[in-house]
Symmetry: C2
Subunit: 209 residues, 2 copies
């Protein structure tokens, strides 16, 4: 198990601090109940007008081998090399229009992202790991699963138990150990005007907890 | 405190089951450390190419009254009536292009959504509540904070301690008690072809945990 907790400036919930996106997955199925719970967590995500713009295509490697192969074959080569070993492959698809008045839903991608994040938190609570991938062929998914107009494949994900990084081909084995990094909060959290760190951040003294 | 836990088909983590989006906020500041931790949770969200396309404009009602008023004045009237009482207002802004090769980032909205969801989970861990709003004037935010080209205000949020629903104007007081609802998983989780419930869902027997 490769642990690389976020180097946070203040303590955050362990389910969030511990999360990262491994490439090394164990050759081990995940419990159907765990997978259902992850999807249930996504189901209860918040969304604009409660539109729930998310749809998921889900395949278990051992139980749904043909389905699994259909998703796998749409992944970019660089992802297929490791994601094909995961217990589950998933594609998240967004509905691009509101059911309400059939208007474009500018929040659809955002809300699918919320569902994916909550799915990931539920996974972490069950010692399961999620690695999302932008690298897949959207048209391939459209054809393979008959995704209709008005829906857009947005992200793929590999899900499973963590595996041994040494089993990954080079240079992925080394990358697996690379530290995680993020911009400091002062470059993302603004107050007075754009680009000015929020007063919350610039006030002196350490956080009160 | 109005509790309305999600009526889940299987047990999910209490931080996720308990979450909902209240309109009744207490007249009580939130601890700066709690707010920092929420932003830190957002900071460590996953994103495509680790682009971290999120930016946040954040104002505390008591400590940053002028900033707070600038956000408040950009909210739709229907939101302002209750959100003006929250301890914190926030606007999440997405960077629409990858720094990498300056290409359009089709995952930006999705990844901002992930950051907002993790911020919300951290809030729940601290007994704080988040209510996101699509109803605000994006151009108003652009002007008020000098949001540059290449960035798009995507969602606003009210954050605080939960308040007394009876203090809300009618009909919001009644709406606050309305049950939460979501489509069943079988209408969102597909397998064989689009619209067909995934085998995981149709196999007989209750979830194994």
């Amino acid at each position: 198990m490769t642990e690389k907790p976020a180097e946070t400036s203040t303590t955050i919930h362990p389910l969030l601090a511990r999360r990262w996106s491994p490439r090394a997955f164990a050759d081990r199925a995940i419990d159907d109940g765990d997978l259902l719970a992850m999807l249930e967590a996504a189901r209860w995500a918040p969304s604009s007008r409660n539109e729930q713009p998310w749809r998921f295509i889900v395949a278990r490697r051992h139980a749904d081998p043909q389905l699994f192969a259909r998703i796998r074959d749409c992944l970019a080569e660089g992802n297929r090399v490791w994601a094909a070993d995961a217990a589950v492959l998933l594609v998240a698809v967004s509905s691009t229009r509101f059911a309400y008045k059939d208007r474009p839903n500018g929040h659809a991608g955002h809300d699918v992202g919320q569902a994916m994040a909550l799915l990931t938190v539920e996974a972490m609570a069950r010692e399961l790991w999620v690695h999302q991938m932008g690298g897949f062929d959207r048209d391939c998914v459209r054809v393979a699963f008959g995704v209709p107009e008005g829906f857009e494949p947005i992200t793929a994900a590999a899900i499973g138990h963590m595996g041994d990084p040494a089993a990954l081909p080079s240079p992925l084995d080394e990358r697996e150990a690379a530290p995680r990094s993020r911009r400091p909060l002062s470059e993302s959290v603004f107050g007075g005007m754009w680009g000015e760190a929020a007063p919350l951040l610039t006030e002196q003294g350490p956080p009160r907890r």
